[in-house]
Amino acid sequence: MSTEPTKITSPTKTALPPKITSPLKREIYLLSRVGLRDSHTLPVYKAHGGYAALEQVLTGGFTPAQVIQIVKDSGLRGRGGAGFSTGLKWSFMPDPAKDPRPRYLAVNADESEPGTCKDRVLMEQDPHGLVEGILLACFAMRVKTAYVYVRGEYRLSHERVAAAVAEARAAGLVGAKILGTDFACDIWMHKGAGAYICGEETGLMESLEGKRGHPRPKPPFPAGAGLWRQPTTVNNVETLANVPFVITRGADWFKSLGTPKSPGNVLIGISGHVERPGVYELPLGISARTVLEECAGGVWKGRKLKAWIPGGSSTGLLPAAKIDVAMDHDSIREAGSMLGTGAMIMLDETACTVRAMQVIARFYEHESCGQCSQCREGTEWLHQIFARIERGQGRMEDIELLSSLANGMAPAKTICALADAAAIPTHAIVKNFRAELEEHVRLGRCPLDVERHAAELTDLVPEGAHA
């Protein structure tokens, strides 16, 4: 087990390498191969424990039900944002003896929640870890065909995972008669084309079928009627990358990391106003302050923290006073936000939270697929109201209007949770930063950095706006 800090140079063209490190002394596994030369290739993967879990399962007489049980016992929760039990999700797939229809695994590599860039690290640096996780998931759910839906912009991720699948196929690890057994599994790559909504699991399935990424009403749930109306499971990249380790090291080992209700390690990205932004592997339940101070080197330029987002733009903005919260599902919920994708975004004392919300609301307006009026209209209104408050043209009633709009959008009032993703941070800013909203209205301008904001090109319409 490597306990050395790892640091890699991104193979994409970068002015400065993004820092991907794991702090000393903590056990790491997800990023244990990251930083090795040619970590993305089969020989290096195999030399560092790769495909041992697959071999153990296929030649050790494991049944699919046993694999599901181990994953259930481990307590692994999905890393795509919702935090649902992975083993439980797998157990929803129908028994093939009773339901012989074809079945699919869709790997969610659409990673586009603002602030989030962790799956990319795994796909670029350790793609075989994902491939092995896919094979184990397919064995457990008796799936013969998996699709890896990679967002179109992730060119290197796509290349690396495709190359890993090809290497694995040539080595008899993908395709028919895997490792000489009766287990057969194909993995196909699929490229998205830049719409956030295709990360929502039913939007992803529509998109994979070659349509607009319009989410589907649930029920029916994917396990009953997913891709091409057949039984389907959708799992995030990081979720699947955990699985080989859970198999080789066992559920008890996994539970020894993290917290009882949120076991294991998690990739935490930290971006915004910090000295060393990066993706770090840490046990769930680590204090947010540790991530900020120890991993990211603290707030940049010697400034103070004002506000932070714990898990991507759809999780609510918290005040600096909450920085000692533990990064696990329950603790963050108690603190009034969500773990989401573990993408921490930090705002220093010179940042404007209203401006931040304007950017976030603009994103959800742009990405709403337009099927539900609450979401289509609601996201547009939220953006307009945040923009006018930020410009100094807001009214005090606008603050109430923000809350009532958000109440009209969520929870569970629309086909998918994109409306919730816009409503949740709206509620958070009204609750946690009301004084700053009011100050904008009272002064008739942004109290911070006025010149800079006025100079910004915010009124130009982005190209490629859809729906």
């Binding site: 820092k19 990673e111 989030t116 830049g194 976030i360």
Partner: protein, 162 residues
């Protein structure tokens, strides 16, 4: 060869797509990957002729293919410059100076966001989060990420694109 003389779907692409559809139980699933390949190979944007040829190949109505293509921001349905520059303006990049990068990109290229420079060399677009948030701010030049940018880097990065 002018666009009108060019066969809308060259034989090589047809052969590629015939292979691609084998990965799926239904033909239409290969449409979006196919549109990507068309955009890469056939002039950087999807012309009405290309969309019609894809419709014919996939057994769909042209309007259905147009409906799909227009949904996805990565597909260009109007002519673009020889190079496409995108600047992420989402939250992590915005906090680290994305608007300065965008302004400098506009200055260097002479194009507005959403436009094409007068010499046809550059299209400039605003982008949503590209998954480079821990290396913000960033820009994308013809699909390649350039990260951890300072304003002064922009001219150098774009200088290589003729």
């Amino acid at each position: 060869m002018s666009p009108s003389e060019r066969p809308a779907l060259p034989e090589a692409l047809r052969a590629e797509f015939t292979e691609l559809v084998r990965h799926y139980p239904e033909r239409q699933a290969a449409l979006i990957p196919a549109l990507h390949r068309c955009q890469e190979e056939l002039g950087g944007w999807l012309t009405p002729e290309t969309l019609e040829a894809c419709a014919e190949f996939f057994g769909l109505e042209p309007v259905e293919v147009f409906g799909v293509a227009s949904f996805y921001p990565m597909f260009h349905l109007r002519p673009v410059g020889r190079h496409v520059v995108g600047v992420c303006h989402n939250i992590s990049c915005a906090l680290r100076g994305a608007e300065d990068i965008l302004r400098e990109t506009c200055r260097v290229t002479g194009s507005k966001p959403g436009g094409v420079s007068a010499d046809g060399r550059f299209s400039v677009v605003r982008l949503e989060c590209q998954g480079a948030c821990t290396a913000a701010p960033m820009l994308v030049l013809d699909g390649a990420f350039h990260e951890n940018l300072a304003t002064a880097d922009v001219a150098r990065v774009l200088g290589g694109a003729r």
